[in-house]
């Protein structure tokens, strides 16, 4: 299990500015992120010999072969890993396997999305499946908030979650977004602002929901040995774990025995920790996929940072704040306030933190960071260290 531990490092990161709706086409945005990541790594485009991405959104926007052509590189390794969140966060597992087995030396992972420009945006996911169109849409079940709202109500009833606790999550994220300086949302939010934000699907408010963003991110991975020769401090991949529950995306939002929490997140985290050879107590900060305040809370507990039902208090007591908290969470403001990059920006932020490049949002003594990549029925946990 520990054979991949610390074998590769992230040596370059690149991202575009994040906006609600870009005037540029997505291929342009992806190439900008990729070019920046390679420059950051001090590696030329033709040296790339491995290309990976998550498998649902990215290849449709910028196929790996087109990317290779744009870089002028010859791919010796080409793969997608899972889809969206778990794909973005767990992709380095594939890079570690490719690099340690000698298939490739320079692996590039990238992500981009243009839902700000697309009709229906992320909600159109619900129209991919005939089951959803026939059995769910006629009843108004269209758009992720409709599903998470019912989940939030169920969790709140079971554990006594208050609106103020959820609001504390939203307010913390907004504060972090303001500190990082590059976020899509920079308007200060108080708990009163949160409580006054409109109900979308009661009990879920607009400020419980993540952004819609156009933009792209990329990162470059090489062996730990080679990483020492790169200009920036390496960020080592300590461990990666992926796991899933036996449901499809069509049914996973409404069926499933546990209607609170995610067993796949618990198992993925156990495996990542085992590969890394560390315990959760040694993690200094966490970037966890926050599509909604409730889904963040459930993952936070499923990962093991708080007992079930106690996560709300953790946030309410300021423990997740980068300003004096014991375990800062989503130090960039996450999907909620920074940008909705489906976990890719969470990876980039973790790297920034471990390099000490986060400025006003810097976690002090950042040694080990955890990144959690969520989808309704599968999960990736990534452990990085400096």
């Amino acid at each position: 299990m520990d054979t991949l531990r610390d074998k590769i490092a992230i040596v370059g990161i690149g991202e575009t500015q994040y906006v609600r709706k870009s005037q540029r086409n997505i291929q342009d945005l992806i190439m900008e992120a990729v070019t920046k990541a390679l420059a950051d790594a001090g590696i030329g485009p033709r040296e790339v010999d491995g290309v990976i991405s998550e498998g649902m959104v990215t290849p449709a926007l910028m196929p790996h072969d087109d990317l290779g052509a744009n870089l002028g590189c010859r791919r010796k390794f080409d793969a997608t890993f899972a889809v969206v969140g778990p794909g973005n966060v767990g992709g380095s597992l594939l890079a570690a396997m490719a690099i340690t087995s000698g298939q490739a030396d320079v692996v590039l992972q990238y992500w981009g999305c243009n839902w700000g420009q697309s009709p229906g945006g992320p909600y159109a996911f619900h129209t991919f499946w005939p089951e959803k169109i026939s059995f769910e849409q006629p009843y108004g079940f269209y758009a992720q908030p409709t599903y998470l709202a019912m989940r939030q109500r169920f969790y709140a009833q079971k554990y006594g979650l208050t609106e103020r606790q959820l609001g504390a999550i939203a307010v913390t994220h907004r504060r972090h977004a303001i500190l990082n300086g590059r976020a899509q949302l920079k308007k200060p939010m108080t708990i009163e602002d949160y409580l006054n934000s409109p109900m979308i699907a009661d009990p879920l408010r607009r400020d419980d929901c993540c952004l819609i963003s156009d933009g792209a991110c990329a990162w470059v991975m090489v062996s730990a040995e080679r990483a020492k020769r790169c200009p920036k401090p390496p960020v080592y991949v300590m461990g990666v774990g992926y796991d899933s529950d036996p449901f499809g995306l069509t049914s996973g939002m409404s069926q499933g025995e546990s209607y609170t929490h995610y067993e796949c997140a618990t198992r993925a985290t156990e495996r990542a920790l085992k590969m890394a050879g560390v315990s959760l107590k040694e993690v200094n900060f966490a970037e966890i996929y926050d599509c909604f305040t409730i889904s963040l809370l459930e993952q936070f507990e499923s990962i093991g940072f708080a007992k079930k039902g106690e996560g709300g208090a953790f946030f309410e007591e300021g423990k997740a704040s980068v300003e004096g908290g014991v375990l800062p969470v989503n130090t960039h403001g996450g999907n909620l306030s920074h940008a909705y990059m489906l976990g890719a920006a969470h990876v980039v932020e973790a790297v920034r933190q471990l390099r000490g490049e986060a400025g006003p949002a810097q976690v002090r003594n950042a040694e080990i960071g955890l990144v959690g990549g969520y989808n309704f029925i599968d999960y990736s946990t990534l452990l990085l260290r400096r």
Binding site: A149, F154, P203, L204
Partner: protein, 81 residues
């Protein structure tokens, strides 16, 4: 199936993600469970009910709503004694 179920959870839709639904707001979105189909949950609407009257475990029964010649939608309403 008997057509009788219970409310497992619910939400009150107040934002028209689908513009054509605007006149139907607020809509009660329900996740329903059934004694005679354990393990299954059905996504549906609860009609003939005030949003503030819904509760966990509220008993509901199916009502077939004929939209047009081709389409009939099963909907659920509270069982009132």
């Amino acid at each position: 199936m008997s057509g009788r179920g219970k409310v497992f959870s619910w939400a009150i839709l107040r934002h028209a993600f689908i513009p054509e639904f605007k006149e139907r707001l607020p809509m009660i979105l329900g996740l329903l469970e059934f004694d005679d189909a354990p393990g299954l949950r059905l996504v549906n609407n609860i009609i003939e009910c005030d949003p503030k009257d819904v509760y966990f475990g509220m008993p509901v029964e199916v009502v077939f709503h004929r939209i047009n010649e081709e389409v009939t939608l099963p909907l659920f309403k509270p069982i009132r004694k």
